[in-house]
């Protein structure tokens, strides 16, 4: 027996709340670091999923696992995480999208934000009014996202 067993919980709400909070910090204080690269990369991944509505998470079992006998190690998290959809994150994204970008299409929203995140990660943010306005709006978007997720986390 293992030392402890717990029902698997969906941590995506906490994870994306942390990431959105970190993004807001970096938008306030631009600069280069490895940490921000990872933060922005994971947010870009989230946006890609949002664009294609690809939230279901399938922890693919091995091709022969159907035959696995009792007693052989089973992947610990299969049963409860299979087809997990992170619905809280989806709802929070949709709310932040509508509240901040109104009728902008999902496609355009994701493209705009991904370009900004890439510029921030590489510390190559153009010094023009359009970009500044885009960054300000992105900041509100991530702040809204983190607030929505925090409310659900509480």
């Amino acid at each position: 027996m293992t030392l402890l067993s717990m029902y698997k919980r969906d941590d995506s709400r906490t994870v994306y709340r942390i990431l959105a909070e970190e993004a807001v910090k970096y938008l306030d204080r631009p600069g280069a670091s490895k940490k921000r690269k990872i933060i922005f990369t994971n947010l870009a991944r989230l946006l890609e999923r949002y664009r294609y509505d690809a939230f279901s998470y399938d922890d693919a079992p091995g091709i022969l696992e159907v035959f696995k006998p009792q007693g052989e190690n089973q992947p610990a998290e299969h049963a409860s995480t299979h087809h997990k959809t992170s619905s809280d994150v989806i709802l929070a994204l949709e709310a932040a999208h509508t509240q901040v970008y109104h009728s902008l299409s999902k496609q355009d929203l994701v493209e705009n934000l991904k370009v900004l995140l890439a510029q921030l990660a590489a510390s190559k943010v153009p010094d023009d009014q359009n970009t500044k306005a885009g960054l300000a709006k992105a900041r509100v978007f991530f702040e809204t996202l983190s607030e929505r997720l925090r409310k659900r986390s509480a």
């Binding site: 942390i18 994971n42 989230l46 079992p61 091709i63 991904k114």
Partner: protein, 447 residues
Amino acid sequence: MNSKEFLLQECENVRATLQDVLRHDYAAGSSQEFYDEFCERLEVLESILEPTDPTDVSTLGTFAKEISLLSTLVHRVERSHAGEFPWPFTEYLQDLAEPLCMENLAQNEGKPIIRVYAEGGLFSYQINLEDDLSVLNIGRRIFTIVFPHTLRHHVLLHAIFGHEIGHAAWTIPQHKSDLKGKVLEPLRAVGPLNSTSQATAWLKDTKAPPPILELRDQYADEYSEITLNQLDSWFQEFMCDLFGLVTFGGSFLAAHQTLLLALDPSGHRWGPYHPPYVCRKAMLWHACKHLGWPNFPSDISDTKLRSDIEAFVTEYCGSPPGPWEDIFTQDQVAQAVDALKDLLTQVGTSCFSMPDESILLPLVRMLREQIPPCGSDLSGSENPANRNVDFRHILFAGWIVADELAGQNNDAGKGGQFLVLNKLCEMGLLQQRAIDRYKAAKEGGTS
């Protein structure tokens, strides 16, 4: 020591373990990338954990999982050192998988790092994909490919990884969207698996084959109903089988049948994630027919080779399926296969095509003479004309000869012969890799 202090200490332990695993020799390629990525993850985790309020139990619980995942990852990679897996095969597998698994992200982050290790019994063929949304801390995704330890040099069986490539592609949002719409949609449109109620009725069909009736009688709880999640998983498995067929070709068919029937000789069992083998085989039969493979032997002029390929086709493409397991029409499968080939071609992953006789015959002859099969010119010429050979054709040749030997009875023993054949093919892949690199360098490409 409180939770936060313990977790920070565990970060140090993981870092120390990472330094420790560096004592091994690793195959050239992604070790540096792995090391850099791992260190970055650890640094990010520590930097976010440090200022966390020790009473923020939700966040600390998330960090505990993150650190445990890093610990598991470093343990896996410790087992991926040279000698533990057939690295020439793995390099070819990476070439196939990388363009397909490239994420649409800025800079270098979209390219996965692929590591391989051998662990566990026959059931352990798997690819771990880092696809969990609730994971905080991933720069580049690290895919870990797992071989059964005892089969680590059985490259002919590793063609089964064509199936796992499908699972990897499914984790890329754009591919997932395309696969759902273009590959799965035709398969799901009609037939007994069109809905959970129809699927359940199909399983309970009184005309189902006797093994199905037996399973239902014996294990009523597990074998009486199909849920929606189960159906979704089954279709993903069907799709991944098509990936295997289209990427690895004949060697996938043979590995698929050999491994799955070895573990479920009746071919009728199913589970929460996997449909019965007989249905998968029926779908593959339609797919082979669509690809024209049953007609391939007629293109071969060498009598012995033609008869060997005919035997291969009969054994692995199979015969028309029975009515219960034949759950897709020819048209459904043809649409799915064509859509999949289009997708693979668009991203730059090459599909399998049957080899010319001029390629296949020398490979088969080399194997019959116990020479590693590859594009080496063995004519004795002063200027040897080595040539490029698709690694999948080497595996295909291996299976043709494996079946030829299986039909013979001699003292060496069939199992032993199969192992020798695998080792020869592994050596062939190694030599072919060298030829490919030499030719690429000579032609001014990267090596």
